[in-house]
Amino acid sequence: MSGVRVAGTGLTPFGNVPERTSRDLFAEATQTAFDVSDVPRADVEAVFYGNFMGELAEHQGHQGPLMAEAAGVQAPATRYESACASSGMAIRDAVMRVRNGEHDVVLVGGAERMTNLGTAGATEALAIAADDLWEVRAGMTFPGAYALMAQAYFDEFGGSREDLANVAVKNHKNALTNEKAQYQKTISVEEALDAPTVSSPLGLYDSCPLSDGAAALILTSEEYADEHDLDAPVAITGTGQGGDRMALHDRDHLARSPAARDAGAEAYADAGVDASDVDLAEVHDCFTIAEVLAIEALDLAQIGEGISAARTGRTTADGDVPINLSGGLKAKGHPVGATGASQIAEVTKLLAGTHPNSEHVADATTGLAHNAGGTVASATVHVLEEVDP
């Protein structure tokens, strides 16, 4: 089907720059996206912006107009908040708006400033993605929530901390050539296992870092891309969204992510592909166990088998289905509101052959991006395909 073209992408480096405002981060990402796209700012008809904790980190609400201004765009702007899936939601609405003919050119993206809060402050801010009354007040943290899922997974399907460490080792290795990544260094399974415990069974190396950063995308209709002879060889051909009960204890299964399954099923059907067509995926690995649950929900691994996928090499750079060739949230970093858009940027480059890791997926034509909020009470999945490969 006719897709929505990715005409340009821009990322700031992800990392520890506590003094930089999110408006400055987003401005940088949009500058890059406009520069590479050859799309004039004046053609942008709407701005879709994802951010999670701006009220807490910068005492800033009403961020839509602020970010349009930062990008130098005179167009109506809306901010999307769905915890860590904030920009995934922004992308989904942008894609649907272009598809239905409402707009030909949109600016989409997100940003997050986190490290200025410090570890304790950021831990508190991230926790608000959970049910405040019934989870946070019982002492549940964000790592704690995923730890509860990891323990439930181990109890139901088996697996070990060593299996999870292999996910971290893989993603760190993938980030080695990613100059925007927060960590460009390899780690060993032993180092991961020896790291301090954050929330058992998860240790420091099972967890993504706190990150500042921004991501921006210029999306256009196929007609606009053709008319203006844009170099836009990748299209978003499928979009899906899933939802679930807010509190983890209200889910049928403590070690599964039905919202991601529903989002994936919808996106696959929308694009007219299935899981076996997926050549590579960027999935939401805020914690190592999250990658395991994601690939199972997306049918990229059988239920109960996702845990061993990194260890056996199935999801490594030269495996059957490389997962998180960018380094993932784990090594690339996770500036929450920017993550969903950054995944689309990475998949676009991987499919276009312009990513440092494209050599591992030279024949790839179909990619997937999975963005999840909280303990996956919300999720988006997007399918991207190379146009006329």
């Binding site: 402050g121 831990t123 007040r137 019982a138 002492g139 704690g144 301090p196 929330s199 204890h249 403590l254």
Partner: protein
Amino acid sequence: MSDPDENTVRDAGFDDWLDAAEDGEAYYLECPEGHTSLPPRRLCPECGSTDLTEQPLPDTGEIATFTVTHVPTPAFEDDAPYATAIVDFGPIRVTGQVVDHDPDEVETGQTVALEISRSETTDERVIGFTSV
């Protein structure tokens, strides 16, 4: 029923539930279809029924999963490390802290009872579990 901080605005429904739990009368909400939930609710989150009744929470439940948190939010700074568990009471699950155990001795499958405790950091009420 006493609140240590008179300036704290209560959360209706939730604080009422904690009051009831402190009196040994914890409950869950059930609709005619058998869907269960925790307050405050005006209707069933599964089917929308407004016919919700309070059912007594079973006396004991089983730890369905747990974690020992070493890096807490500031509100639990002095409590860490502590064990958080999701306890399956049969018709409903509840999240809370295992308060009478060395965190390292908590295991999946342990039988526990609900007991409201206090945060060592803030003295706020916390849903707790004790072994039986």
